[in-house]
């Protein structure tokens, strides 16, 4: 289950505080996604979208760290 795809927040609509929405870009396709559970969402952030809701904000630092570690792989311990 759980097809969730990362997309970039283009704009945020907080007119309804119980249903905060964002326009999110996936490739060149844009869709409205509910970001109600992402406290610190800003324009430019990447969120993980599943069935029209944002599950989490992508941790850019972590992503970079993991990719760098993978690219330099060959060292004994990775990052457990």
């Amino acid at each position: 289950m759980c097809l969730a795809v990362p997309g970039k927040i283009l704009s945020i609509d907080e007119s309804n505080p119980e249903l905060r929405m964002a326009r999110v870009q996936f490739g060149e396709a844009i869709r409205e996604i509910c970001i109600q559970w992402i406290d610190d969402a800003s324009v430019g952030d990447y969120i993980l979208a599943h069935v029209g809701t944002a599950l989490s904000k992508i941790d850019e630092a972590d992503a970079l760290f993991t990719l760098d570690a993978l690219r330099e792989m060959g060292s004994p311990e990775l990052f457990l």
Partner: protein, 351 residues
């Protein structure tokens, strides 16, 4: 003086007369004549049609003829990039091209549902006329029937086309040979996504449009300069995967695709990732697959890329003797998998 068809902006049958199609519009009497004379004849005008016979008298055509028929029942009938009318002309034109024929004449039959808006019919008929003009084909005969409300789905269209097979061409899956290349003229999945996103709840803000267009200008150019084409197929329903699987089965060859070479536009890609769809299985209405000897590939690509409808043409795979009857693909990570036939339309998934 009656205004020339293509300059008629408004529906020639005003709302004050009839807003919707009635059963009588298909009855063959006064209302049918009204549709034919006020809507169809002015837009489709050509010498053959305007004779006014039930059938069309065609001038002699030298050489071998090709004939193809298709019915169009798409829902929604209006979608980004076009409507059912464009599909009805371009689909049949492209089918004739796939026979190696120059499209010449088309018949046009409507089955309309009682209650269908005349304004919508007008929009569709205008699109049909525009597409036929663009493709250089004449609409020479037709028919209109009306079914009771609930017994149809707004509008169904059938088009049958006749074309002249170009001398020297011999298109057949049996001619598929190991080492041949597979070429496509542009991005895949555009039409399928455009249709799906029109349906309720799947809307994206994007530049996704149906790719419906007639390919005869580009392909006649290819045929004249490079007649050594082995197979042609338009990857409509079921997408590139279905079309190539059918070729593999009928030619008993194998085909090997390269995932990294498949052209997918960014908006289609984004929508497909979100909905869990594979563009290989989505319909295309302005695309053609060519299988031809590798030696001719560069020349054919150059010709195709000179045309707007072929600007993104590229080689996406090769014919192989290794796995007869099977379509395989080298994935972006270097593994190889079978690209199978699937039954039924691909549906968006959450899993």
């Amino acid at each position: 003086m009656k205004p020339e068809g293509k300059f008629m902006l408004q529906c020639p049958i005003p709302k004050s007369e009839y807003e919707c199609i009635l059963l009588a519009h298909g009855g063959g009497g006064k209302l049918t004549r009204q549709l034919i004379e006020r809507m169809f004849y002015p837009l489709f005008e050509n010498d053959i049609l305007l004779h006014g016979h039930d059938g069309a008298f065609l001038p002699p055509i030298p050489g071998e003829l090709a004939m193809t028929t298709d019915s169009f029942v798409v829902d929604p009938i209006f979608f980004p990039g076009g409507n059912i009318g464009e599909l009805a002309v371009n689909g049949t034109v492209n089918d004739l091209i796939c026979c190696g024929a120059e499209p010449l004449y088309i018949s046009l039959a409507f089955i309309l549902e009682e209650g269908f808006l005349l304004d919508d019919l007008w929009t569709i008929v205008k699109s049909i006329a525009r597409s036929a003009r663009h493709a250089g084909v004449k609409i020479v005969t037709g028919d209109t029937k009306v079914v009771e409300k609930g017994k149809g789905d707004k509008i169904f269209i059938n088009t049958t086309g006749i074309g002249r097979v170009l001398p020297g061409l011999s298109i057949s899956p049996e001619k598929c040979a190991a080492g041949d290349v597979v070429i496509i003229n542009g991005s895949i999945g555009d039409h399928g996504v455009a249709i799906l996103t029109e349906r309720e709840g799947l809307a994206f803000e994007s530049d996704i449009k149906s790719d419906t267009r007639a390919l005869n200008a580009m392909m006649l150019d290819v045929f004249r300069k490079c007649p050594e084409i082995h197979v042609l197929r338009d990857p409509t329903r079921g997408g590139v995967a279905t079309a190539l699987n059918e070729i593999c089965l009928s030619s008993r060859s194998g085909i090997r695709l390269r995932e990294n070479d498949l052209p997918v536009n960014d908006a289609v890609r984004g929508a497909c990732e979100v909905m869990g769809l594979d563009p290989l299985y989505l319909a295309n209405e302005g695309k053609i697959l060519l299988i031809l000897p590798e030696a001719d590939a560069m020349e054919v690509l150059t010709i195709m890329q000179r045309h707007k409808e072929g600007a993104q043409s590229r080689i996406i795979g090769t014919v192989s003797s290794d796995h007869p009857g099977l379509l395989r693909m080298e994935t972006s990570i270097g593994s190889t998998r079978i690209v199978d036939m699937v039954s039924g339309e691909q549906l968006p998934r959450i899993c």
